[in-house]
């Protein structure tokens, strides 16, 4: 086990992974409860398209292109979700598959210097210095936001109309949350890959809601589950070689979800029996 820490890339991956896990869990609870889960998925596909373009342009740090592109996309996806309630999921599906197609198309034409596999499913080795810096700044922001505005975040997530009536500028909060989600996804998708990063946003919240019924406990439990799965996934991926880390992390998330679901089921059964 200790040999893991001899590798600088592993330490870097561990730090970035844990920080991204915390951000994903915190933002994920709000996104899932506001029924914005698809935004995360759409953004990762847009990120993939942007990374492909960046690779073709031979940018040394592709994140400088993908970050602003995904943030703009986040802003518009939120607008779509807020204004046209009926076709929001369709619009997001169209945008995300278009972005994915553009990415694959460009990557295939300029196949020489792009590792499609790595973009799709991520890699620990691709975690660079810039990811480290961005993820530290990002997680400080996200955690600070939850500490300072926890009550408001609850109110906006629970009942946006009431929050607006009490003078909270809900539009600002929604925009900030979607922009932070965009940054989280851009950094996280390098490690976990386009196809798998959205699981990191949705799974912890969904898993926690099997067993916990209070907003506060759901948030705490999501963070714990998320960090556990990322760390466990990293170790597994490192010891059992050749498995992309994204896959092991998502599988750990799935396993914890199933465990929680079974416990919730049994608990329900027992409480019904007791009532009888």
């Amino acid at each position: 086990m200790l040999e893991l820490f001899m590798h600088p890339f592993m330490i870097k991956a561990l730090i970035v992974g844990v920080l991204i896990a915390v951000c994903c869990a915190l933002l994920g609870v709000v996104l899932v409860l506001k029924q914005y889960s698809m935004i995360g998925d759409g953004l990762s596909h847009v990120g993939f398209g942007a990374l492909s373009v960046a690779a073709v342009l031979n940018l040394s740090t592709p994140i400088y292109l993908s970050l602003p592109v995904v943030m703009v996309a986040a802003f518009f996806l939120l607008r779509i979700t807020e204004t046209s309630k009926v076709s929001a999921d369709a619009a997001i599906a169209v945008i995300s598959s278009s972005a994915l197609a553009i990415g694959v198309f460009i990557a295939s034409i300029n196949g020489t210097n792009i590792n499609l596999q790595q973009y799709m499913f991520g890699s620990i080795l691709s975690v660079g210095e810039s990811d480290l810096v961005i993820s530290i700044v990002l997680s400080v922001f996200v955690i600070a936001m939850y500490f300072l505005f926890y009550n408001k975040i609850f109110a906006i997530t629970f009942d946006e109309d009431f929050a607006r009536a009490t003078g909270i500028r809900t539009g600002v909060y929604n925009t900030v949350i979607s922009l932070l989600t965009a940054i989280t996804i851009v950094v996280g998708m390098r490690m976990l890959g386009t196809m798998l990063i959205s699981a990191l946003i949705i799974f912890p919240a969904l898993t926690s809601m099997r067993l916990y019924r209070r907003f506060f406990t759901v948030i705490i439990s999501s963070v714990v589950i998320s960090v556990f799965c990322v760390v466990a996934g990293l170790f597994t991926s490192f010891t059992v070689s050749d498995i992309p880390v994204g896959a092991t992390i998502v599988l750990f998330n799935l396993a914890v979800f199933l465990v929680f679901a079974v416990i919730a089921f049994v608990k329900n059964l027992l409480s019904k029996k007791i009532r009888k």
């Binding site: 109110a155 009490t166 003078g167 809601m209 907003f215």
Partner: protein, 250 residues
Amino acid sequence: MSLLAVSDLCLGYEGKAVVRDISFTVNEGDYLCIIGENGSGKTTLIKGLLGLMSKYSGEILFSDDLEQSHIGYLSQHFKHKKDFPASVREVVMSGFLSRRRFGFGYSKAQYVEAHSVMEQVGIIELEKKIFSDLSGGQQQRVLLARALCATRRLILLDEPTSALDPIVTADFYSLLRKLSQDGVGVVMVSHDINSALRHATHILCLDDNSSFFGTTHEFVHSDQGRKFILSDCPCDDCTIIHNRGGIENA
């Protein structure tokens, strides 16, 4: 001074006035019901009072110790999110938001106040329960408690009982009446005119041509009142007169 004084208020969408020249006042302990046909601008008026839309003309004056964002508000149909993880206490406490700008938790005084509000609306035994486990009537009481945490002076309700069955509705109305007797100003939009007349002290009737504002008694005897009310005024003196009017109209 009155809690809320509205004079010659005009509100609307895209240059078209929906609410025209409305004037009314709400004092402590008043229970004002806003009634009117569909599309007469009831919900628009509520939005205007909450500051969610800008007014064309007229004035909305709150008493000095009451800010617009401090009104307790209970919305028409709460978009019920199934399985939302939230305890009753978490929901009730979120009413304090308008009075607290930053921070993670709430102050001790606020916990004490929330406790007394929950006692007032009769949900103290639900404090530790999960919001989504409650019945519709209990949920509305919880949301009323949240509104009361925002202010103990003036609450605004937009058809709070539209999803409730008649018995629970009656309970809810008597609770509102009790609150208004305790000195809370209550402003409620309602479709249910009979209940409105039974409980409200004042009526604001929105109409395209002319709107009415006055006490419930005055309303029953007004021209607009006759348009809406089929039943008789409960007071002994006017039953006979009113009946005669009904026959003549028929």
